[in-house]
């Protein structure tokens, strides 16, 4: 397969063409708003495509260290199997959060919280800026 331009580059390139060339041809306001939303989602996809398999593995490693539990591994690096495994990792973290609060152990709650903050930081890195186009 040709690996370059990367998926990240291709998606960002499509977004740029929509923004700079197609947008000027759009006449109706609802379609302009849709195009702005598509632009934002394409940029999210671009950032995700570059890192998502690595991101979920890094998160699973963090959770394994924080909880002392083995998170296992996906059956392969094909995205469907990675996503199925990541769901199991997320369930483990959700269960740990609930167990931490039930225990009342503040250090255990704080430990779970560290994992959640890291997860949120990655999500925000992927999101970039939020612009609620079409509202107001």
């Amino acid at each position: 397969m040709f690996s370059k331009p990367t998926t990240e580059q291709l998606l960002a390139g499509i977004a740029e063409q929509l923004r700079t060339t197609v947008m000027a041809e759009i006449q109706t306001e609802p379609t302009k708003i849709l195009l702005q939303q598509i632009d934002q989602i394409l940029m999210v996809c671009s950032r995700r495509a570059a890192h998502e398999i690595a991101f979920v593995h890094e998160e699973a490693q963090r959770i394994a260290v924080l909880t002392g539990k083995d998170m296992g591994a996906p059956a392969s690096l094909h995205l469907d199997e990675v996503v199925a495994w990541y769901h199991r990792v997320s369930v483990a973290l959700s269960d740990e959060v609930e167990a931490a609060f039930v225990s009342g152990d503040q250090s255990r709650i704080d430990t779970a919280r560290v994992a959640l903050d890291a997860r949120s930081a990655v999500e925000m890195q992927i999101l970039g800026a939020l612009d609620l186009v079409g509202r107001g």
Binding site: E29, P30, I33, L34, Q37, I38, Q40, I41, V44, V83, Y86, H87, S90, V91, L93, S94, V97, E98, A100, F101, A112, R113, A115, L116, D117, R119, S120, A121, E123, M124, I126, L127, L130, L132, G134, R135, G136
Partner: protein, 349 residues
């Protein structure tokens, strides 16, 4: 409303039926409006022998293009109740409950002469005193007696029962999603561990944000888009307003205004400082959004499984990503203040 080309004829036929006294009805224009994320919106100019009407049509999109599922029947009944109570909101004038006439379940509203708040602000509108007007607007619609609200709205056995259900909605939103959402579980547990003092249950708007308020020439707020309304905690709409303002300024409840806002609201409602203060409002910045978050996540899940083809469902998941970072930060800041408030409330009993 699904077929724009049919609408002038449909509207003319509709008024021949509901306003038999109108003669020579002519639909001068029919324009799709932007701004409604969840429902179809259009503006119609209608002339008849007795005068001219500017109307707004608000209807359900096709099933596979619905961002969220809500009842037009309930919304119509509520609009009638709140308008009769004197709440500033565009009046619902007609209702096609089945869509037999207008193509989909549709509420026909009067066209508001007010200006949308966000564009008004972006054009240089002054915020002076508006946080007080906001407190007054909220206190007023919350004064609608619960027994006057549509029978279809869920009544709750107690405030505690209501809060338990709302908090659990965070867990359920994760369980019902296409993947587990650990931050939702944290939010639920944190909210449960830091409950505020009890408050009387009232009408809540449910989507009370700057893009759902308009401003009149005399500087008063008018509320629109009541589709997510229900009966709930009075601080939910305040927190929700603040939550959305984090992503879409201006924030009328920022640090410079929140104390005065709370004081004005307490003055109007008789609630006390332990019930309504910057910390309890911020608590509901988290809890108050759960209804919308549930709906947005359901929309995203249905898109992922192919049951929904509305691109906005995907786009709106970005708001939840942003929200998660905000809820975590708010929980960190509020843990100690909420513990102090709970202790003071216990001491006062």
């Amino acid at each position: 409303m699904h077929n724009v080309n049919e609408m002038p004829a449909r509207i003319a036929a509709f008024f021949a039926k509901v306003e038999p006294g109108w003669k020579n009805v002519k639909v001068d224009s029919y324009e799709v409006m932007t701004g409604g994320y969840s429902r179809l919106l259009a503006r119609a100019e209608v002339t008849h022998a007795g005068g001219h009407e500017t109307l707004v049509l608000r209807g359900d999109p096709p099933k596979d293009r619905q961002l969220i599922e809500t009842s037009r029947q309930q919304e119509y009944e509520l609009l009638c109740v709140v308008a009769d109570h004197g709440v500033r909101t565009p009046r619902a004038l007609y209702f096609d409950a089945t869509g037999a006439d207008l193509g989909t379940a549709t509420i026909v509203l009067e066209y508001s002469k007010c200006t949308s708040f966000v564009p008004w602000f972006n054009a240089g509108g002054s915020l002076d005193g508006l946080h007080l007007r906001l407190a007054e607007a909220i206190a007023f619609y919350q004064s609608v007696p619960i027994d006057k609200l549509p029978a279809s709205m869920e009544r709750h056995a107690s405030w505690d029962a209501y809060m338990t259900k709302r908090i659990d909605a965070w867990r359920q939103a994760s369980h019902n999603h296409v993947e587990s959402l650990p931050i939702f579980h944290y939010v639920a547990e944190w909210l449960d561990a830091h409950r505020p003092p009890e408050a009387p249950l009232v009408l809540r708007h449910g989507d009370f944000q700057s893009s759902n308020v308009m401003i009149s020439a005399d500087g008063q707020f008018e509320m629109i888009d009541w589709e997510l309304a229900g009966i709930g905690d009075p601080r939910e709409d305040m927190g929700y307003f603040k939550a959305v303002a984090q992503a879409m300024p201006p924030d009328l409840l920022d640090d410079t205004r929140i104390e005065e806002f709370c004081a004005r609201y307490r003055e109007l409602t008789g609630m006390n400082e332990l019930q309504v203060n910057p910390a309890t409002v911020a608590y509901f910045l988290i809890l108050g959004v759960v209804g919308t978050v549930e709906q947005l996540m359901q929309g995203g899940a249905k898109w992922a499984t192919g049951e929904n083809h509305l691109f906005t469902s995907v786009f709106n998941m970005s708001s939840v990503v942003f929200g998660q970072s905000m809820w975590l930060a708010a929980a960190s800041q509020l843990s100690e203040p909420m513990k102090r408030i709970a202790a003071a409330a216990q001491g006062g009993k």
